[in-house]
Amino acid sequence: MTKKASDNSSIYHGVIAEFSTSDDLIHAVNESRKKGYVQMDAYSPFPVHGLSEALGHRPSNLLVAVFCGGLIGALTGFGLQYYLSVIAYPYNVGGRPFNSWVSFIPIIFELAVLFAAFTAVFGMIGRNGLPRPYHPVFKVDRFEGVTRDKFFLCVEADSGEFDAKKCQAFLEGLGSSYVEIIEK
């Protein structure tokens, strides 16, 4: 059984089905899950709420990373200013303490925001596996509609007991207007 599945997943990326509305897409996702398909991804022109949950994707932990990024930024900001003003280049300005932390706050804040923003953007891009100019789904000509008004469900080949023909018939039965088997 495992041999057969691995054979399939070495030839096929999966089967992709096109839908015209987000409701049809969510319906198809739910039916496919009932059928036992596990590895799936859905594609849409804009974020569809509830889609990620329906697909059974675990929510990302991006926000934790952003918080850590911000914290590192703040510590960097304070560390930089403390080291330079107290240790590397102590300079007496009107008798103020070298560690005049109150006047360090603006730069601490700016660096916290900067690091958090970098974490958010590069975390999002990196965890999404982008930039990736080539992907099997791009082989489907009609996939261009994904940025216009079409919704796609792709059941991937490493998804349980995958049989490309059966899966195609199943997705056609869900009211998809177009189904295509994608090779790797």
């Binding site: 990302s60 003003s85 603006p106 925001v113 958090a116 100019p133 992907h135 940025t147 216009r148």
Partner: protein, 469 residues
């Protein structure tokens, strides 16, 4: 199966949005229309604007050539007014650069859905305004080739920047702001660049969009992270916007010059920044929506809302002027009192009263709903406000410096022709970048508009079902 649909609460801002967007347009219409603006032949209005912008840009280049060749002595700055046009223009441009992120971030967090059709364009405007702003301190340091000395880096001179100075805070604030604004703008653009890639017919154009869209394919997993990243960026950008102009306000307020040393400066600078930023968005969006016939997306309701924001922030700024005058008297400080009296009746008094007329009196016309709907009037008011905000910075910088504590060090400031050409040239740079952006990028957020249409459709279905029950 339970046939009764769950009762959903309808977000009132989504309902309001219904009157902002053309209800009949489908997802495909939005995608085709906005991408079509870029993929169709160049419009005549654009070409005319571009020729003007390039001419002004040439003026900037020549002015910079003269500046680098002869030094900043060609400007009118001297003791006691060492902060002339360079700082006035810096503050003016940074202020204009506040509306984009305000519209994008703060209005997003406040669920103001109407922002969707102007945010992309306002963000781009922000970036270009900040670029123009950044130019001026670099020129003003006199040795632009050594501008990197502003940053803390290990060097053979074994010296480090002074972290207790607001001027250094400014370096960090403006560079962080420029970076985060760029990231915010770019993240918003990614799905729309993918849309451009899929719509483009020309293979070269398609490849360029494919590369800069990072191969976006609209995967559900990607959208989930994308939305989180976008929201958190908005959350980060919102206090950042406030902090940047606060710190620009500190540049003045932390000094001990009468006319600068005032606690009201940071909030009043932030309000002034949003005031001038919205004025600039209005100035640019009126011709753009006319040339590209975008009245269905950037509607009269948008212009009306922006006019209201201008009215409110204009009155906050007016409160600032009143407080400056009041504190001149109430502080009982001889120097503060002289400063405000000198502003009102001294050699620069006409500029002061012009500023009051532009920022405090003329914007009061915006109380009238009829005038807010008249695009010609609104356009003129937005230009008046931009002028007024420039005069405000002129008054703050010049009148505070030209009368020092000791009459022996009093002087006058007169800008030279090179001050003017550099200033006009920077407007050329701004227009050039804006027009380039309009030509090659989707100026309205496609996927966000589609998302809004989707939300609205679903809410309406819920409504219908509720009424059937």
């Amino acid at each position: 199966m339970n046939p009764r649909p769950k009762r959903k609460t309808v977000d009132p801002s989504v309902r309001d949005a219904a009157e902002i967007y053309d209800d009949r347009s489908s997802y495909a219409d939005v995608a085709d229309r906005i991408s079509g603006l870029v993929l169709s032949p160049t419009r005549r209005g654009w070409i005319i604007g571009f020729i003007g912008a390039v001419a002004m840009l040439a003026l900037l280049k020549y002015s910079l050539y003269r500046l680098f060749n002869d030094g900043i002595g060609i400007w009118g700055i001297n003791v006691p007014v060492g902060w002339g046009f360079a700082i006035i223009n810096f503050v003016w441009w940074v202020g204009i650069g506040h509306a984009g992120t305000f519209i994008s971030a703060i209005l997003l967090l406040l669920h103001q859905k109407w922002r969707t059709s102007i945010n992309r364009f306002a963000e781009a405007m922000t970036l270009f305004a900040v670029a123009c702003a950044g130019l001026f301190p670099l020129l003003h340091v006199g040795r632009p080739d050594r501008a990197y000395w502003l940053f803390p880096y290990p060097n053979t001179m074994d010296i480090w920047p002074q972290f207790r100075s607001p001027l250094l805070w400014d370096v960090f604030a403006v560079s962080t702001y420029a970076t985060v604004s760029f990231l915010f703008w770019f993240v918003g653009l990614i799905p729309d660049l993918a849309c451009m890639r899929d719509r483009a017919k020309n293979q070269v154009v398609k490849t360029i969009y494919a590369v800069i869209s990072l191969g976006w394919r609209g995967s559900a997993r990607h959208w989930e992270r994308y939305e989180k990243a976008y929201k958190v960026l908005a959350g980060l950008a919102a206090p950042l916007v406030i902090s940047v102009h606060t710190i620009v306000g500190f540049d003045f307020a932390v000094s001990v010059i009468p006319g600068w040393h005032a606690t009201i400066f940071p909030p009043y600078f932030v309000a002034g920044a949003i005031f001038s930023g919205f004025a600039m968005v209005v100035t640019l969006s009126i011709p753009i929506r006319k040339i590209y016939r975008l009245e269905g997306y950037i509607t009269d309701k948008h212009m009306d809302n922006m006019a209201k924001v201008m009215l409110v922030t204009g009155m906050i700024v007016t409160y600032g002027y009143a407080m400056e005058a009041f504190m001149g008297w109430y502080s009982a400080s001889q120097y503060e009192g002289f400063m405000i009296w000198n502003r009102m009746t001294g050699p620069y008094a006409p500029f002061y009263w012009a500023l009051i007329a532009c920022n405090a009196i003329i914007p009061q016309l915006l109380w009238s709903p009829k005038l807010r709907k008249n695009m010609l009037v609104l356009f003129i008011i937005s230009l008046v406000v931009n002028t007024g905000m420039w005069l405000e910075r002129f008054i703050i910088v010049v009148t505070s410096l030209h009368r020092d504590y000791l009459p022996s060090s009093w002087g006058m400031y007169t800008p030279t022709v090179w001050d003017w050409t550099t200033y006009i040239g920077s407007i050329g740079l701004f227009l050039f970048l804006t027009l380039m952006f309009i030509r090659i990028m989707p100026i309205i957020a496609i996927s966000e508009l589609q998302h809004l249409a989707h939300e609205r459709k679903h809410n309406r279905i819920d409504h219908d079902q509720e009424s059937i029950r």
